[in-house]
């Protein structure tokens, strides 16, 4: 009998052994580095979670190998292949072959973080890894790096055993290869709801240990996650070492032809270790095909492996999700999106040339098979396009309710934050006869203070009374939603929406990721309301705030360094002059905010210019930001014979405190040292006029499209009080105003009385100041210094310069 040696006893090899022994004529020797035969690796997750035992997932037991006369060399690593002598050498001796099949599978990729070799740092690949996770007792802590399918299964499995699990994922959403952002968001929500901690956009920095054993994972941002076990599930690599040493052709995997033959005609390869026609393999269906083709090739039959289109029906225990085909946006592709926030359902179909080419679903995947069929068979769907997303059973129905978001709120959801009124109270009032806004205000006080919840109260009237109530037409944010800015702000707070994906899904956005009108607003609301939880998204900012410079009509930028309170010195001026020379700045202008504007700077020169200015201690003046611009001052008691207080000093202090914060619109301030008002404080968003007895603080001035004098907010005696009131006012504005409303517009809506009432409480002022300071711990960073760093500066240069490339 001829001799067949197989290296590896994974699922592909298992299938090959069946085929070959069925045909007969071969004496099989099966090597496996794992000390066991073939088992169903895909089912390790149910073993981990306790739903199955290992015995139940064994596919080939000792009896099988005995009956089929397979020589098993399990737990033995192959050390060398001698192609000339046609032998394979294992740790316990050499065996010769007529045909050799390499089925070494893949190795888990271990990120070479410092500490990755500590005890307690494992992959998730085989039974040993699974058993290691199963030894963790209730209350133990585990960290999983990698939020792909395998990582989440490991996390869910350990969680089911009572382990405290944190998933750390590099990308912005879970399972980014199989799911789009919206479905990833729902999955994350489900896992968090179960008690699994999920950190996305998180980069691991090092693994900390004690006595050679893992103790914690430290992230790039400094967070430490204590753990007794750390599981890396970040991907797999074909295991090609043995093949490579034997001199076989190896690319990303072992090269094989359609007959599964490697560059040596007596050696075949199958499974996750191979590369066929540029493709690698991870799903089991094509591996079984390969095993069959390899068996036929060995038997001398003519067979060809064709990589068929595989669907990726996915299952994370208990989470209902489905993804098939190609769901990336692309040329000539169209999306049909369906969201039902109350049921947590998301469906997205991708169409091309009237056929379905991709589908992602979450929450309700009943129609997955049907959609997959449409994808596979390339059915023309033009006739059913209108109703396609509702699935095969759809026979006509009503349109989605635009007020679903409000209808879905639980009864104890707070609608009116000022007066602490919940949805239930309002609905009760409406059912008790309060038939319009005024009546609801009178009965419940809801919407009778700042008024930002008016839209929600009206929607509750509409939902509760149906046709009997006519909804006043409020202006929605943009075409992506029917909700107003005020509604969105209120819902972000009351429903604790902490990511863009959460807003799009829970509030039923009509577009995948908003537009240039709503996205900057949503980005602002999220970072203002959840400074710690939400991460600012530069791609949701207008160019000026993304580039930290003002774009000019010719595409160049202007650069305005900060001059605290309008005070500068010779060294700073010299640095500015040098920068103007070095970067050929055509225009240097003194601004109305008491600083210097360098106009006409090329985008790619910005980081270098910032680095130069930074060396002289100059930081960004945020002249481009919806944030604090300047605090203009006069010279006050320092020099002026009329000055009553240190206006310059207060201006500098305010600017140092407030710079870097994002606000709904730009904020300009000024401090004048006496009522002669040389700093023109009375037309600023916040203006302070010093008098002998203290500080008169006014708010809501403007000198732009509208000309407005400030209205008096309060008069205080000390500088400390002035600081407290100004900071608290800015925070109140940050928390409540509509995006792109300057303070005067916002005050006109809520009323100065409300602002004064709210701020008259010392407790509220303390809260506001604390909230502002918390936000500043995150946002008060010089954006220029950060972007002058090499890594960030690169992003300001063109991606490529092809001007020197020769044309064909």
């Amino acid at each position: 009998m001829k001799k067949l040696v197989i290296i590896g006893a994974g699922m592909a090899a298992g299938r090959l052994v069946e085929h070959v022994s069925e045909a007969g004529g071969w004496e099989i020797t099966l090597f496996n580095a794992e000390p066991r035969g073939t088992y169903n690796r895909i089912m390790l997750s149910p073993v981990l979670s306790g739903e199955k035992t290992y015995q139940e997932i064994v596919t080939h037991n000792d009896d099988f190998y005995a009956t089929h006369s397979v020589t098993c060399r399990f737990g033995e690593r192959v050390t060398a292949i001698d192609r000339a002598a046609r032998t394979v050498t294992g740790e316990n001796g050499t065996v010769s072959y007529d045909k050799l099949v390499i089925a070494t599978g893949s190795d888990p990729f271990m990120i070479p973080l410092p500490g990755h070799d500590l005890s307690g740092v494992i992959a998730y690949r085989d039974l040993e890894d699974t058993e290691r996770m199963m030894t963790l007792g209730e209350g133990a802590k585990a960290v999983v790096i990698g939020g792909g399918l395998l990582g989440l299964e490991a996390a869910a499995g350990m969680h089911a055993r009572g382990v405290d699990v944190t998933v750390v994922h590099l990308m912005g959403h879970l399972m980014e290869r199989q799911l789009d952002e919206a479905a990833g968001y729902l999955l994350r929500k489900e896992l968090i709801g179960r008690g699994i901690k999920v950190l996305c956009s998180s980069n691991s920095k090092e693994i900390l240990g004690e006595d050679g054993k893992v103790k914690a994972l430290r992230l790039e941002n400094g967070t430490e996650l204590p753990c007794d076990l750390l599981v890396m599930a970040v991907g797999i690599r074909p295991a090609t070492a043995v093949a490579k040493e034997a001199g076989l052709a190896v690319g990303r995997g072992i090269h094989v032809d359609d007959q599964m033959i490697t560059s040596d005609e007596d050696i075949l390869a199958i499974g996750e270790c191979v590369e066929h026609d540029g493709a690698l393999f991870g799903l089991v269906a094509p591996l079984y095909d390969q095993a069959k083709v390899a068996a036929q090739t060995i038997a001398g039959e003519d067979a060809r492996f064709v990589n068929r289109e595989t669907s990726t029906k996915l299952k994370v225990t208990g989470c209902d999700l489905f993804s098939a085909g190609d769901f990336a946006e692309g040329d000539d592709r169209e999306d049909i999106v369906f969201r039902d926030p109350s049921r947590g359902v998301y469906k997205r179909l991708v169409l091309q040339d009237n056929t379905l080419i991709g589908a992602v679903m979450y929450g309700d995947t009943a129609d997955g098979g049907w959609f997959h069929g449409l994808i596979k068979d390339k059915i023309d769907i033009s006739d059913m396009r209108e109703t396609l997303i509702f699935g095969p059973a759809y026979q006509g129905g009503a349109a989605l309710d635009p007020m679903a978001a409000v209808a879905a709120l639980p009864a104890d959801a707070e609608i009116c934050g000022c007066n602490g009124v919940c949805k239930g109270q309002i609905v009760t009032a409406i059912e008790g006869g309060a038939a319009d806004l005024g009546a609801v205000q009178a009965t419940t006080k809801a919407s009778s203070s700042c008024g930002t919840c008016t839209g929600l109260v009206e929607q509750l009237l509409a939902v509760t009374l149906g046709d009997a109530f006519e909804l006043p037409t409020a202006k929605p944010v943009c075409g992506c939603t029917d909700l107003t800015h005020e509604d969105v702000r209120r819902l972000i707070k009351s429903r604790e929406l902490k990511s863009q994906a959460a807003v799009w899904q829970e509030l039923g956005w009509k577009t995948p990721n908003g537009c240039h009108v709503c996205r900057p607003a949503i980005n602002y609301y999220l970072l203002a309301d959840w400074p710690v939880e939400y991460q600012d998204d530069p791609q949701s900012r207008f160019v000026n705030e993304r580039k930290h410079a003002n774009i000019q009509k010719d595409g160049t930028f202007s650069v305005v360094p900060r001059m605290w309170g309008g005070i500068t010195n010779a060294a700073e001026l010299r640095a500015i002059a040098d920068a103007a020379d070095k970067y050929n700045v055509p225009t240097v202008k003194v601004t109305g905010g008491q600083r210097i504007d360098l106009l006409g700077v090329k985008g790619e020169d910005l980081p270098a210019m910032w680095a130069d200015l930074g060396r002289a201690g100059l930081v960004s003046g945020h002249a481009y930001a919806k944030g604090l611009r300047t605090v203009k001052t006069c010279v006050g008691t320092d020099h002026c014979r009329f000055g009553t207080q240190d206006s310059t000093g207060l201006g500098v202090k305010l600017e140092k405190k407030l710079w870097g914060s994002w606000t709904p619109h730009k904020v300009k301030m000024a401090v004048s040292g006496c009522p002669r008002n040389c700093a023109e404080a009375t037309c600023k968003d916040v203006g302070i006029v010093c008098v002998d007895s203290g500080y008169e603080i006014g708010v809501g001035g403007a000198a732009g499209m509208d000309l407005k004098e400030i209205e008096p907010l309060v008069k205080v005696a000390t500088e400390d009080e002035a600081m407290e009131w100004v900071i608290a006012f800015v925070q109140l504005y940050r928390e409540n105003a509509k995006y792109l409303d300057r303070p005067y517009k916002w005050i006109a809506k809520v009323g100065l009385d409300w602002v004064q009432d709210t701020m008259s409480s010392a407790e509220e002022r303390t809260r506001l100041v604390a909230a502002f300071e918390l936000s500043q711990t995150i946002y008060q960073k010089d954006p220029w210094a950060e972007r002058a760093e090499e890594e960030e500066a690169r992003k300001f240069a063109p991606l490529a310069d092809l001007t020197l490339e020769a044309a064909e």
Binding site: M171, E329, H516
Partner: protein
């Protein structure tokens, strides 16, 4: 079709853009999703605004100067604005962005 490698996919943030200089002018490369890129002229036909600096939403970009919106698939201006930007074939291979080499030779041809 000949393809030129212009950079790594990860050099462009999702919903972001970068430009590529060519002798015919700048080409904007947009990354609308995890693995979807588009290449178009970087110049807005309205007042010449640099489109790479615009906000990317869905498969569209909004010019940073006067908010004209262009469909990245067709290049057509959206809404009531009329105009079109040139679009160029791209593909992604092994995490690299490739662009049709024809953009180099258009003037010569």
């Amino acid at each position: 079709m000949t393809w030129i490698d212009i950079g790594a996919l990860d050099d462009i943030p999702i919903r972001g853009a970068r430009k590529v200089k060519t002798r015919q002018g700048c080409v904007a490369i947009f990354r609308t999703e995890e693995a979807t890129v588009y290449a178009t002229s970087n110049t807005c036909p309205h007042k010449g605004g640099p489109l790479e600096e615009g906000i990317v939403h869905g498969a569209k970009v909004t010019c940073p100067l006067h908010n004209w919106v262009f469909d990245l698939e067709t290049g057509e201006a959206q809404g009531s604005d009329e105009g079109r930007i040139a679009t160029y074939p791209t593909k992604i291979e092994d995490g690299r962005i490739l662009i049709d080499a024809a953009i180099l030779g258009q003037q010569a041809a």
